[in-house]
Each structure stands twice: as C-alpha cells, then as structure tokens.
C-alpha cells in the first residue's frame, strides 16, 4: 500500500516542470579576462611582503655628518613611496626603479648567479611572486637568457616577473 502511495506521489510530482533561464559562470573558454592594474598602495604592500617579508612601516631616519647626528625625522614608507609612484601617470617605470632599489636593500639577500640552479631558481620565483609554475615556454625563455645573457641573474628574474602585467594586476 505504501509503495502504491509513493508511486502515485512521484507520478504526480513528475508532471510539474520548471523552466530556468540559461545561466553561466565566468567567461566562456578562450575569452581572456581584461586586467585591472594594482593601485600604488596595493603594489607597495605586495612588493614589501614579497621581497622584504614585512609591511611598510613608519620609523625615524637619522641623518648624521661624519658620525654626529644632525637631525632625525619620521618616515611613513607607504605614504612617501606611494606619493612618489603617484607622481607618474603610469607609475610602472617608478615601480621598476623601486623594485630594483629594494633588491639592493640592506634588508634583502640575493644569491650569486653561480650559486643557484637556474631552472630551480626561476621556478621558485614564479611560485613565490605569481603563485604558479612557469609554463615550459616561459621557463625555457628565462633559462636561456640566464645562460646567454650576463645581465640576467637572480635579480633580473625577480625584476622581470614583478614588472609583468600578471604581477601588476589585481
């Protein structure tokens, strides 16, 4: 009896139909999403975290002459460097200069070119800065440049990745 009731109920239920508008999520395959650039603040906080392992800070800088303190003043790294970036309409040139500067900072150690395995180092930097592995074409291009161009070393790899649209976008 119970079975009959259930069959009857299901048969009734199956007579109802519902129509939904087609829906989609994300972009169709093959369509590339247009990027939005990081603001100066987003870039600064990102580069500080990625390269120095800290956030921008506020602290005192002491200026001395031959060891004798002349004066000291407070510096807000984010405000000052952010203003400097915003002093250009497209701040990428200044971002590249700041990246280069931080890579020469006393706070960071860059390995010697000869002390690391090129492909492993390149892979590590892609993972660290972009959150992904290099594809074979990218890895080959970077590794070839590492071998053939004396100007390409650990610092150049980081500079190249940081300057890319992928890193510079939100």
């Amino acid at each position: 009896m119970m079975r009959l009731v259930l069959v009857a109920a299901l048969a009734t239920a199956c007579t109802d139909t519902y129509n939904y508008d087609p829906s989609s999520a994300g972009e169709p395959e093959g369509v590339q999403v247009e990027l939005r650039g990081k603001t100066s603040t987003q870039f600064l906080r990102g580069i500080y975290a990625d390269l120095l392992g800290r956030t921008p800070e506020t602290y005192e800088i002491v200026i001395s002459v031959q060891g004798t303190e002349l004066f000291r003043f407070t510096v807000d790294e984010e405000a000052l460097l952010g203003n400097s970036l915003d002093g250009l309409g497209d701040s990428l040139p200044m971002r590249n200069i700041m990246t280069n500067a931080l890579l020469h900072s006393a706070e960071i150690t860059i390995p010697e070119k000869g002390s690391v395995d090129a492909r492993e180092y390149i892979r590590d930097q892609f993972r660290r800065l972009l959150g992904r592995d290099p594809n074979p074409y990218e890895l080959d291009a970077f590794a070839t440049a590492w071998t053939n161009d004396p100007a390409v070393g650990p610092r150049t790899v980081i500079r190249a990745i940081v300057a890319s649209r992928e890193y510079q976008s939100q």
Binding site: E34, N83, G89, L92, P93, N96, A101, Y137, F142, V152
Partner: protein
C-alpha cells in the same frame, strides 16, 4: 593565474601576430622630432590677480615677464621697485635665490593680452587647469578619478599624429587629482592617447633611495656618495625582454582601467630618464644649486621650491624628449590663502622660473626655432582679502572661487617664432554665439596653441560635438 594549453597557445599566436604586424603598426615618430612645431602651455596656477601681476599694485613682482612699469591701469603708476614685503615677514623668511632680472622684459618679445577672461567654470585650480589642458570650461569634481569629458591637448595631438606618449607631457607641481587630467573619458580618445604625467616633487624624491636602501641611519661623509638606486641599463633591458615574454601571454589591461598604461617603449625611456637621476650620488640631479631659483640655504646652496623643481625637471624632459606638446602647472602662489607676503614672493619665483624656461628654450637651436610658449594664470583671486594672517601693512590672505572680477580677469603672454613681437593688446568686441565677455578668453589661448600644432579644426569639431563653446584662435598674436 592558471594557464591552460589553449590560452598559452592563443597567447603565442597573439605574440606572433603582433611581431609580424609590428612594422606596419609602429608608432610614428612625432612631427616635432623632425622639426615640426612645438607648444608649451605654462599655467601659473594658484590664483594670480591682475592687480599684483600686470598692475604691480604691490611693486614689480614679475619683472622678467613684465618689467617694472604697470601694464594695466588702476593699481599703480610709474616705475615700481621690488615687491612690498612686510618688514616682520622679511626678517623671518629665508632669502629668495633669484637670478639677475633680464634687461628686456619677456613681454616685449611676444604678444601680451592684458584683458583675458576666465569666463566660465569655477575658479578652482583643478577646473582651471582642466580648462588649460582642454580648452573647455568645466565643472570637474575634485576626485582622483574625475576625467574631462572632452579630449585633452595631449590626446588631440597623439591621435592626430600617431605620436608616442613621450611626445606629450604634463609636468605638474601638484599631484593628487591632477594626475587624472592626463586623459579624458571621451570615447574616441581616452587613455590610449594619454600623455606622460610627471609630478617632479613627488616622482623625483631624494628620500626614495634612502628609504629603499634599508638604512635607518644615513651618515654623510664629504666626498662620499649618498644612498643611490644602482642603475644598470643592460640589466634593465634584460629584465624588460623577460617581462615581454610574460606579457606576451597575458591579457591586456581593461580599456576602462582607471590607471593609465603607456606602451612599454615609452615606459622604458621614462624609466631610463628617472634611473639616471636616482643613480646620482651627489643628489644634484634632483635639483641642482646651479638652477639658482628658490630659497637660499645657509651654506649658500639653493632649496628649490616646488615650482622651481617642476620647471627644472620640465627642462630636463625638453632636453631629452623634445616633445611637441608640454603643459606645466605651477602652484607656489596658492599660499595666498594664508600668506599674502608669500604670495608676492612666489610670484617672483614663478617669474624667474618662466624666464629660466624661456632662456633654456632659446639656448637649444632645435627648440628655439620650433617652440611657441603660452603663459597664463589658470584664474585670479577675489577682489577682497580674507583676514587670514594680517601683516603690518594691513594686508591678509586672499581666497578664490566666488567668481568675482578678481577671480576671472587674467592675462596671456605668447612667445615664439609664430608670435608677433612687442605687442600689448586688450582686444574688445570679440563676438561669438554664447560669448558675453566681448573679450578673448582662456579657451581662446588653448585654441590658439592647438592651432599652432595644426589641431585647431579637430579641437573645434570635438568641442562642438560635445555641445561646448570652442575657443577662437587669437589671430592678433600670430605672425
């Protein structure tokens, strides 16, 4: 960011197609690079009244531009001496560093319109400079993302000539919202035709190498370089090539991205220009004592005011890039809200800076033969004082913005190979539908500048299509 096989291959395809087509779509070198006309619009911003400038009501504040005899009536008569600075102010303020005044005022080399009218729009700095960059009276909101609705002079020039961004510069003493003035929201123009915006006091900042060095104690030893940002052009090139590998496989920035994105070739040149400055351990590349304009330091050196730094770096840009279009914004004189004496002194600085810029142009044979320079305030200031910071001579600060005649009566000085020399004019009976002033106006100065570059017709067309009143070319100033 995930990279599927398909996107990777399509990226390669785009990169390959771009490479194949690049000879065909290469940006043409700017006309000016082959000796075409150039225009520099110098906005003496901050609100400059006729009374103190041409009227010399407080002495000759701008002797390089206008000499020492008033060029409009009603404020002072006869030859004027130095600006009248209150004695208590003079005793406390650092001395100005100013080069010797030129023997022949600049206005005698060109044409001076003494009755120009900033006829419409709020007498605010952003709106006033928006007008100087577009020839359009506007009511721009004071917001970082507020773009003009009509194309700027940079966009008009770049679209008409297919010139690179480095052929059109906006060098501004002011940052903030002014950054948005480099491009408009006009659908046929916009950021792909933007020029280069450079704010020297912000972008070229000697504290940057100190902060990024990671040192918190900087010990200055005579003869030893200060912290720098090392510059290795070979490494820059190598990094740029590898970045291109990544970018060749990445989506483009959205066309409506609020951040302007220039071509990589433009950015490489700008980066090299700035890198050279940041690599100088003497810091004289930030602002050298030899520029000679600013505040005198105790050691005899010169502290550049923001206007002086702006003009110094505008000259560096002219020297290196030889652009066809440049607009400058000065703003030191805006201290007048709180400091009338500072306002008078800042006029002296602006006057010396404009003279320095003109001399720089004349010393370069290519620039000298091709550059027309138009100098004008973006607007004036109120006819009345505001009571702020009164001095012993009975004067106080002056605001701007209410739109009285002090706010709107300005002037224009035109100089260059296309300009008639030795004219001081106050034309009247200028007629145009919608023009009630009967005078030449600020929008006419910009239309005249665009006419020199050959963009007058398109500027007129675009403004009319938007429903705006276009400026009239000022024929009286042209040879």
């Amino acid at each position: 960011m995930a990279c599927t096989r398909r996107t990777f291959l399509s990226g390669l395809g785009v990169a390959a197609a771009s490479t194949a087509l690049s000879p065909l779509i290469k940006v043409r070198r700017a006309a000016a690079a082959t000796g075409g006309p150039r225009v520099i619009v110098v906005g003496i911003g901050g609100g400059l009244r006729l009374r103190e400038s041409l009227g010399m009501g407080e002495g000759a504040t701008m002797p390089n531009l206008f000499g020492t005899t008033p060029l409009v009536t009603g404020f002072a008569t006869g030859s004027q001496g130095a600006p009248r600075i209150a004695p208590e102010y003079a005793a406390a303020a650092p001395a100005l560093a100013l080069p010797a005044v030129r023997s022949q005022p600049l206005h005698t080399l060109g044409t001076l319109i003494t009755n120009l009218r900033y006829a419409d729009g709020p007498p605010g700095h952003l709106q006033g400079h928006g007008c100087l960059l577009s020839g359009f009276y506007n009511r721009l909101e004071n917001r970082a993302d507020a773009h003009l609705p009509v194309p700027t002079i940079f966009e008009l020039h770049r679209r008409a000539t297919n010139a690179p961004a480095t052929d059109a510069w906006y060098v501004s003493m002011v940052g903030g919202f002014y950054r948005a003035l480099i491009t408009s929201d006009h659908t046929a123009y916009g950021s792909r035709f933007a020029g280069v915006y450079l704010q020297p006091p912000g972008a070229i900042q000697p504290l940057v190498p100190i902060i990024t060095s990671g040192k918190r104690v900087v010990d200055i030893v005579p003869g030893q370089p200060l912290p720098t940002i090392p510059w290795n052009p070979a490494e820059d090139d190598a990094a740029a090539k590898l970045t291109a590998v990544l970018d060749g496989n990445a989506p483009r920035f959205a066309s409506d991205d609020p951040i302007v994105h220039l071509m990589s070739e433009d950015n490489s040149r700008i980066q090299a220009h700035l890198s050279e400055i940041y690599a100088d351990g003497t810091y004289q590349s930030f602002f050298p004592d030899s520029f000679g304009i600013g505040l005198r330091k105790q050691d005899g050196g010169v502290d550049g005011t923001n206007d002086a730094k702006t003009v110094y770096h505008a000259e560096r840009v002219l020297q290196k890039f030889k652009p066809s279009v440049m607009a400058l914004t000065l703003l030191d004189i805006d201290v007048c809200h709180m400091d009338f004496n500072g306002y008078l002194r800042a006029q002296q600085i602006a006057d010396a800076c404009v003279n320095h810029l003109w001399n720089f142009i004349q010393a370069d044979s290519e620039l000298r033969d091709t550059t027309t320079m138009i100098v004008l305030p973006e607007h004036g200031r109120h006819l009345f004082m505001n009571g702020n910071n009164p001095d012993s001579l009975g004067r106080s600060g002056i605001d701007h913005g209410q739109g009285d005649n002090g706010d709107r009566d300005v002037w224009m000085l035109a100089l260059g190979p296309t300009i008639k020399p030795n004219q001081v004019l106050a034309p009247t009976n200028i007629t145009q539908s919608g023009r009630s002033s009967g005078r030449y106006e600020t929008i006419d100065a910009i239309m005249t500048a665009m006419g020199v570059l050959g963009h007058g017709a398109v500027m007129t067309e675009v403004l009319q299509a938007y429903g705006a009143r276009p400026g009239l070319p000022i024929q009286e100033v042209m040879l």
